[in-house]
């Protein structure tokens, strides 16, 4: 098996090969490290960790030799640079943490390593997870491996977990971890032609993940198949006494029950997700998805989520409000960047002015504004009430249906050089993902087809709280019907001659 073949395996196949002794974890890691080096033009990684990767791979081979293999033993994965990794630079895509090496390991990454996975490196991302393009990273944009049919311009991978998405799409990681606050896993999964899963809020611990908006942030996996995503989720999910918002309920073996059988399931199709301006190819793909599920034996139910249009404005009050407070700790006093000055306030201003990029500064300002005396009720409190109404919409819908099918994003991946001067336009990328985030629901994006321009498009499946099994089941039915090739970007661009 060539190195290229090794990087193109799915997790289940790779585990099988490792078990059979077809190749070692070290060979698997080496193949990926070489591919990473060859694909640096994508800028998917902020930090590559080849030494850790090889050491972890050797430890994995040793365990396997003793017959003590762990569930993900030897699987090479990438981790969004938002997760604190002990002894490894953790930047959150920001200059303000350009020198920050945590003395601790986040819970979800610790769980991943405890399951035997091998760390390839830390992936690029929008600064503090604020963005839908990966263009706000201090470490430069990530380039998607995908190109449009008739347009050679480099494309964004989506964001904020753009590096994690691009790495999996470009076969320089077998799977990866991202975080999703308003769509930061699902939207880049859609743009990058891979599977991205945002679990129920509280399913995975937030301990050790740099906070953006605490009531929304949730870790989740990227993979090239629904089954692989299910395996990664099982490894990282679970109650953590160090995170008061994590929920103590059992973690099922998500992959075990997975067969894509949706017969008898009721699938909701919300009218509000089909605005007049929805591009035709996306509307058509959605219709196709509905047809696939109906053909697979599901019952399609028209539903209404009446407060959908309020979700995005409310999100852009709540998330910046929390962020303005969460980011107050980056003050130059204890760690990270400090720009010296003669006086305390000047030091704060110089440090935060230099350390934060424009989008982060904008959201800190918005958040500070909406929490200010005199504006609090008009903005923050009203947004909280809207949030409760959105959650109620979903709760009522889930009395009638088992899952909801929508497009993941209202567009395909745009070029790196597309105008970004209008933040509202950028925020609209999250219009279909934000409502479920506000309600804390699990959601997945499954690659389902190509846009008119030849770029990937995903469909989103949403479920009840902690009903990831149903979400995965529906996603697998779509995956099977769509027959999408998540490595489709590589054939013309990166695949070497066999």
């Amino acid at each position: 098996m060539t190195a290229t073949d090794l990087t193109r395996l799915g997790i289940a196949e790779a585990l099988d090969g490792l078990a059979r002794g077809a190749f070692s974890a070290r060979e698997l890691a080496t193949a990926h490290l070489e591919a990473m080096a060859a694909a640096r033009n994508l800028n998917a990684y902020i930090t590559e960790t080849p030494e850790q990767a090889l050491a972890m791979a050797d430890a994995s081979d040793a365990r396997r030799a003793k017959g003590e293999a762990l569930p993900l033993d030897g699987i090479p994965v990438a981790v969004k640079d938002l997760f604190c990794t002990k002894g490894v630079l953790t930047t959150a895509g920001s200059r303000i943490l350009e020198n920050f090496v945590p003395p601790y390991e986040s819970t979800v990454t610790a769980k991943l390593w405890a399951a035997g996975a091998v760390m390839l490196g830390k992936t690029n991302m929008d600064e503090f997870a604020m963005g839908s393009s990966n263009l706000t990273s201090y470490y430069g944009p990530v380039v998607s491996p995908w190109r449009a049919k008739d347009d050679p311009r480099p494309r964004v991978p989506g964001g904020s977990s753009g590096g994690s998405a691009a790495a999996v799409a470009a076969a320089i990681a077998m799977g990866s971890l991202g975080t999703d606050t308003g769509g930061s896993i699902r939207q880049p999964a859609s743009f990058s032609g891979i599977v991205g899963l945002k679990p129920t809020y509280g399913r995975c611990s937030r301990w050790g993940a740099v906070a953006f908006a605490s009531s929304l942030d949730q870790a989740g996996p990227f993979a090239r198949s629904v089954r692989d995503a299910a395996m990664l989720l099982r490894a990282i999910a679970g109650f953590d006494p160090q995170d008061s918002t994590s929920v103590d309920c059992p973690v099922p073996d998500y992959a075990a029950g997975l067969d894509g059988d949706v017969r008898g399931l009721r699938i909701g199709v919300p009218a509000e997700y089909r605005p007049a301006e929805l591009p035709e190819d996306i509307a058509a793909l959605w219709d196709q998805g509905i047809a696939w599920l109906r053909d697979a034996g599901a019952e399609i139910v028209d539903i209404s989520l009446p407060h959908t249009t309020c979700a995005l404005p409310a999100y852009y009050i709540i998330a910046p409000a929390e962020a303005s407070s969460n980011l107050a700790r980056y003050d130059g006093v204890r760690y990270g960047l400090r720009v010296p000055a003669d006086e305390l306030t000047e030091m704060y201003e110089a440090t935060r002015g230099a350390g934060f990029g424009a989008e982060v500064r904008r959201r800190v300002l918005i958040g500070t504004y909406v929490l200010s005396a005199g504006y609090y009720d008009a903005y923050y409190n009203k947004a909280r009430r809207v949030r409760a109404l959105i959650a109620r919409d979903f709760a009522q819908a889930f009395q009638r249906v088992d899952a909801i099918l929508t497009p993941t994003a209202p567009s395909d991946a745009f070029p790196l050089d597309a105008p970004t001067d209008d933040p509202i336009r950028m925020y609209l990328n999250d219009v279909f993902t934000v409502p479920a985030s506000m309600a804390g629901l699990p959601g997945i994006s499954v690659p389902a087809g190509l846009s008119r321009a030849g770029l990937p498009l995903g469909l989103q499946v949403l479920g009840r709280p902690f009903d990831e099994p149903t979400v995965l089941q529906v996603a697998q039915a779509l995956e099977r019907a769509a027959g999408f090739d998540p490595l489709g970007a590589l054939a013309p661009a990166l695949a070497p001659a066999k």
């Binding site: 937030r206 008061s244 918002t245 407070s325 700790r329 005396a373």
Partner: protein, 484 residues
């Protein structure tokens, strides 16, 4: 209490916000130690230092202490309360926000009874009690150009106990803090150590003409002794009255008390007041208490000062004054109760000994009662020697001095120094005879009607017997002899 001004009488209106450090091993949201006096930055967890991605987890012990305190303040316990973030930038506040409780505190309205110097009492209403994090400490005196930060205190649990504006004099404010401190110490929820800053008060002061609506108040921050609270109030009320009598208006502001100069100074005006941008901390779920657990705590409440004082008066026949003195500190009350041994020893005699003799001697050396060199058991043995006539009350005081100095038992000192009371009539008669023989002129005086000399004769005989003569026997015999 009214204050006389140039233009008539004024009344002060006082409300206090007391910050009491919760007695707990670990901080409010982290496992770091709360011990006092550690080397700077040795009791700081990743959470206290606000490292990226760190999350708070509530310390159940601190919740328990807050609920116990609420119950001790006769207050409503809110079964659901919410932690909020109070946002502001300061280097000793690592998170950039303090986790506190704003609109939904853990404890609601309550009331305590304060004891005033004239023996009267007065109820003072408690508005609320909430839990919050303490900040770290800025060290400005370590370097001429730089400030250092010690985060040992950062994240330590505080209870902020807010009174209604029910107090009208420095005495009442002092009595309020005294009573509050006693209750906290009885409950074991705060050690009340004001020198270490474990109990400190923000004092709200306004003045008005009697019967008129409240005036504009100023808040004096962080006053850390009862004496300073009095001084700050007196200064501030006087300052406000002067402004008003000069035709000015009091500006609502935050002020500092300068203990060296005994005055308050403006810290920031209302316009400069921080906008703290409170909002519910999304890292913490609402705190929901089990009503059964609260009831369990209610049943486990210890006897508090007021109830103990009532019992001392009722069961032991003590005066209100003696009982108040004995219950003011829970250690004193415990000492006293141990001393009387369930009423086996004379409660009034024991009260006198604790209040006059023991306190007098401990105060001289500034020793707290729990470190008294003479424990309740040892003092009890001394009282037993008085009760069974082995020594006189006068001898007992000398023996007690020796006990305080040496820590030895009363019996051993009496034995060694031969201080047993003389109850032998012959011996007493002999001592009287010797004194009378030496003073024929005084006898004549006495017999001529100067009966005051009786005391002088008693003193002479006592001196001659080294204070050991049984006083009753001495008096009786002496009176007989003087009759002639």
């Amino acid at each position: 209490m009214l204050i006389r001004g140039e233009t008539g009488d004024w009344e002060m209106v006082l409300g206090l916000e007391v910050h009491a450090q919760v007695t707990s091993q670990a901080k409010l949201f982290s496992g770091a130690s709360t011990a006092f006096g550690g080397e700077p930055n040795t009791q700081v967890s990743l959470i206290d230092a606000a490292m990226p991605g760190m999350l708070p987890v509530i310390n159940e012990m601190c919740v328990r202490q807050a609920v116990l305190t609420g119950l001790g303040l006769n207050a409503r316990i809110n079964l659901t309360s919410v932690f909020d973030r109070k946002n502001y930038f300061y280097p000793d506040l690592p998170q950039g926000y303090q986790i506190s409780q704003y609109t939904q505190p853990i404890v609601g309205a309550g009331v305590i009874t304060i004891d005033l110097p004239d023996g009267s009492t007065k109820p003072v209403r408690i508005a609320r009690l909430h839990l919050e994090q303490d900040a770290g400490k800025s060290l400005h005196d370590q370097d001429p150009h730089r400030t250092f930060i010690d985060l040992n205190r950062a994240g330590v649990a505080l209870m902020e106990i807010v009174s209604e504006p029910d107090m009208r004099s420095p005495d009442e404010a002092a009595a309020y803090v005294t009573k509050l401190r006693a209750i906290l110490r009885y409950l074991g929820t705060c050690d009340g150590n004001m020198e270490q800053g474990n109990l400190r008060a923000d004092v709200n002061v306004s003045v008005r003409r009697p019967g008129e609506p409240f005036g504009t108040r100023c808040e004096i921050k962080n006053v850390n002794s009862i004496r300073f609270i009095r001084q700050a109030i007196e200064y501030e009320a006087r300052r406000q009255i002067e402004i008003l009598e000069d035709g000015g208006t009091v500006e609502q502001e935050t002020r500092l008390f300068d203990a060296r100069k005994g005055e308050t100074r403006s810290m920031r005006s209302k316009e400069e007041a921080h906008d703290y941008r409170y909002f519910p901390d999304p890292d913490l779920l609402p705190l929901v208490l089990d009503p059964d657990w609260v009831e369990e705590l209610r049943r486990s409440l210890p006897e508090l000062p007021d109830a103990k004082r009532e019992r001392f008066m009722r069961d032991f026949g003590l005066s209100a004054y003696d009982a108040s003195v004995l219950v003011a500190e829970k250690e004193t009350a415990a000492y006293y109760e141990s001393l009387i041994d369930g009423g086996r020893r004379d409660p009034k005699l024991a009260a006198n000994w604790v209040i006059s003799e023991l306190y007098g001697r401990l105060n001289r050396t500034g020793t707290p009662i729990e470190q008294s060199p003479v424990g309740a058991g040892a003092l009890g043995e001394l009282l037993d020697l008085i009760a069974d006539g082995t020594i006189t009350a006068r001898t007992a005081k000398d023996v007690f001095d020796t006990m305080i100095e040496t820590g030895r038992s009363a019996a051993a000192i009496v034995e060694e120094k031969g201080l047993k009371q003389i109850t032998d009539t012959a011996a007493i008669e002999a001592a009287i005879a010797a004194v009378l023989d030496a003073n024929p002129d005084k006898i004549a005086d006495y017999r001529a009607g100067n009966e005051k000399l009786m005391g002088w004769f008693v003193g002479q005989v006592m001196r001659a017997t080294g204070g050991k003569a049984n006083p009753k026997l001495l008096n009786e015999t002496l009176r007989e002899k003087l009759k002639g």
